[in-house]
Symmetry: C2
């Protein structure tokens, strides 16, 4: 690069400029990456319709059968079959224009068109401890901490429960404390789940208390529920269906989740895995709209992949990247709000393998225009481990991914002929000090928080900083200082009176 | 995933199946990722034409001026201007259908359409030593070793000199020994460069000796030359131009390389940086075709990015990913063979930052349909360091990237309705043992060589293998055993008689 005169001064000027304007944000449009052609999508759609009409789903509950047959599905020989016209009608009438609210409106998410948002998710049962290079059981405190850290990260737009609080003894304690810890740690949109149908009533009760009433919650639902309503292949999951029916009545937006694993619980052919996943979620869409027409539901095709040599998940693979992007395109084909998973590393630690697996899969999911990219930060060991350091590092990664999603603006200013002319014809023959460079510095470039761009020499002089250690430092700073009060004191007191809250007030610096 | 009966047996059957068919290969079609619309490309093209017509290039040599003005360029006031018709005519008549040969034809590369090939490249001056966590000077032996390792890696399709042999004392020793060490270590296509014009004659002499004569080389040129013919912005580089003229006459395919740095030596606007880069390479295209119409030239737009806070390169950034993909699309707009850079990490070591930077940038470059992805393996510290371990790990990464490039085949078999029917309707309700799964295991899935998909439990039992340490082991195995004899003994003897070869025969196990 140019080291001609003017460069040094120009750089000093640049460094002094404030970085106020954020170059990337939630909800930018993806869609620049299209693994499927329009013809491919039409064929997948036709195959999904045929699967629903001729294979149908087993395991249907009585109420699901009642809702769906009333809408036009056919129940025979233990399976529920969906005629194409019924499915097409559900697609047509489904809600495709709703928000997933944050408690602070600045965090509202509008999963429409090709708008992209990244978030946490998962049900990891371990925390990756980078100090001891080992896995330990995840706890409620970990969940609260993950929510607090996420609350501070610009490129993580929503918080779905990424870990199971294994120190909870009953499913009721688990469901309620998961909800509480998430809402206490962040006012971004929260996703969670309810384990068994009998927990839905207290779950809704807690939600409404936090919202300040049922009507207040229903006006701005700030929690959505992840519902694994099918056990692939093509079988309803009883408990989840019952939970879903109650939560729909309670006004909770639903993530209609189908999580087949290619080669194990869905076809080994990538295309077939997409077909089955789309068919299953379309069945769910009919079901949801039969219960409550227009209820907010996210098209949650989450196809996973197996390593066929061992049967192990391979969430960081190229096949996974293709699957997530393809189902995202299918949701776009239907113009329905899409949620799927990307960023799931098979590596156990925040190492180079984790980096490339996360980078490839989150970039392709985002560029495919996936509205809600779940599991996009912190996940390791094929979803078994959650790592705080990775959460922080992945936030930097998503900054770069978001930059690619924003894309390249083309207009007379950005085409830069005037700037080139001024620089080349009698000018300084470099761009460091130009008006355009100074102006675009804040808007055209994403600067990482902890990733290093030091030269090898500077890196040596700085004692060779290690990115994982830097992330630990930042984690400790956040956890020692960021104690948000998103649950007002009186409501908190009422919650603790009514429910068995296992997160002590002292841990939340509530005195 | 399903653990129902049949699963275990099916997995055993799968593990026993031979993996003969490779699921990915060199030269698959990219193009699924399009950061630019057709309208964007037309505007960039128009701006590049305007830049060439109204800004032109300075620093033109006498011979370059002679060639180009004879073709229709205009020289005035120290600058060479290119009328649009001249540029359009060069684009139209340029060679767009040539091969970059390997000495073994199985390694031939046909950089046409949207076919994608990955390779090494760079001029790193350090080797990243992962054992001591430090950088050391790169040597000729390192270069030979990099060539030998690359020779064994399926997903690295060509070998361009990635390091400078700093133990060479003169530029002649450097140029000749770089060529020799590369050709001794691999029979994949080799890219290199010639430092000063006076070295071109011995360089060509060595090439022809290895080929078995000038005609033999020209029939299947197995070496291409990287020529930085411009010093951006818009200025010819004298020595490089003189080198290029000689090598074109010698029959060497040319990588027409323009390496501006956005915000420093090219506009800070991503679009403007693309415009300048395209304009510069189009000038080069006119020049090459004025010297020798139809000479094989690669459209080498290599725009780099600065971190504007410091002026440092940021080759692993989202901006870089956009730039590389955008110039790839522009070469596609012209239907010209495209070469650019991706995979350049700013991290100093093979860590998680390196992983995501490499993953994002190589995936987007490949999916954009870039014919020749240079620098795609091993590069660290903003191109200052080359790491053998990363070379090996990045090969695994590229396997996953190539899988995404291959994409999703849609046909009645892959749509899998028959398989779904057989599995769901009275079948085992899982896909582990199906005929389709067994058949697709070899063709649909890419298995990494060293990346780990062990579960956390298996990983602990295996003593927590570290991917960098695994790469070191594989590196040591390759370097201890892979001593190819790509230069026949008689030719080797003749080369050593004629030139000052610094790679001892003992180091090559030539006795």
């Amino acid at each position: 690069m140019s080291r001609r005169s003017g460069g040094r001064q120009a750089r000093q000027k640049l460094r002094a400029a404030p970085l106020e304007v954020k170059p990337v944000r939630a909800g930018m449009d993806g869609g620049q990456y299209k693994p499927l052609t329009n013809g491919d999508m039409a064929q997948i759609h036709a195959a999904a319709l045929e699967a629903l009409e001729t294979i149908g789903l087993s395991g249907v509950t009585e109420t699901a059968a009642a809702y769906c047959t009333k809408a036009g599905a056919e129940f025979r020989d233990g399976r529920l079959y969906f005629p194409p016209a019924l499915v097409e009608s559900a697609i047509k009438s489904a809600n495709r224009d709703f928000s997933l609210h944050g408690r602070d409106p600045k965090h509202d998410i509008h999963p429409k068109g090709r708008k992209v948002h990244f978030g946490t998710a998962g049900a990891a049962v371990h925390v990756v401890d980078v100090d001891s290079n080992s896995y330990r059981d995840s706890t409620l405190r970990d969940l609260y901490n993950a929510a607090r850290i996420t609350d501070t990260l610009d490129n993580v737009h929503f918080f779905q429960r990424p870990m199971v609080a294994r120190d909870m003894e009953t499913t009721l304690d688990l469901d309620l404390n998961t909800l509480y810890a998430s809402l206490a740690g962040t006012n971004k949109h929260v996703g969670t789940s309810v384990t068994v149908p009998e927990n839905t009533a207290p779950f809704l009760e807690m939600l409404y208390m936090v919202a300040g009433g049922e009507a207040a919650f229903k006006a701005r639902p700030f929690v959505s529920a992840s519902i694994c309503f099918v056990v692939p292949p093509m079988r309803f999951a009883k408990d989840a269906c019952d939970v879903m029916e109650s939560l729909i009545k309670g006004g909770v937006p639903i993530l209609l989740l189908s999580a087949g694993q290619a080669g194990a619980t869905s076809p080994a052919a990538i295309a077939g895995s997409v077909v089955q996943s789309v068919a299953e979620v379309l069945a769910g869409l009919v079901y949801v709209n039969a219960i409550s027409p227009g209820h907010p539901a996210i098209f949650g095709t989450w196809p996973f992949v197996s390593d066929l040599r061992t049967g192990a998940m391979s969430g960081g693979s190229g096949e996974q990247a293709l699957l997530s992007a393809a189902v995202s395109q299918m949701a776009g084909f239907y113009d329905l709000p899409a949620g799927s998973a990307a960023g799931m590393s098979d590596s156990k630690l925040p190492d180079i393998q984790a980096g490339y697996e996360k980078g490839i899969t989150t970039a392709l999911a985002g560029l495919s225009g996936l509205n809600l990219v779940y599991e996009s930060v912190g996940m390791h060991g094929s979803l078994m481990g959650f790592c705080f350091e990775s959460l922080i590092i992945d936030n930097d990664m998503l900054g770069q991914v978001l930059r690619t999603i924003r894309g390249i603006e083309i207009n007379p200013d950005t085409l830069s002929l005037d700037t080139m002319r001024a620089v080349c014809l009698g000018g300084p023959e470099h761009y460091l000090g130009t008006e355009q460079t100074l102006r675009l510095m804040q808007t055209e470039y994403v600067y990482p928080a902890i990733a290093s761009r030091l030269s090898p020499k500077e890196w040596e002089e700085a004692q060779k900083p290690d990115i994982v250690a830097e992330a630990t430092k930042l984690k400790n700073r956040i956890l020692a200082s960021h104690f948000p009060s998103y649950i007002p004191a009186d409501i908190d007191a009422a919650l603790r009176q009514r429910f068995d809250i296992h997160l002590p007030r002292s841990a939340m610096r509530l005195g």
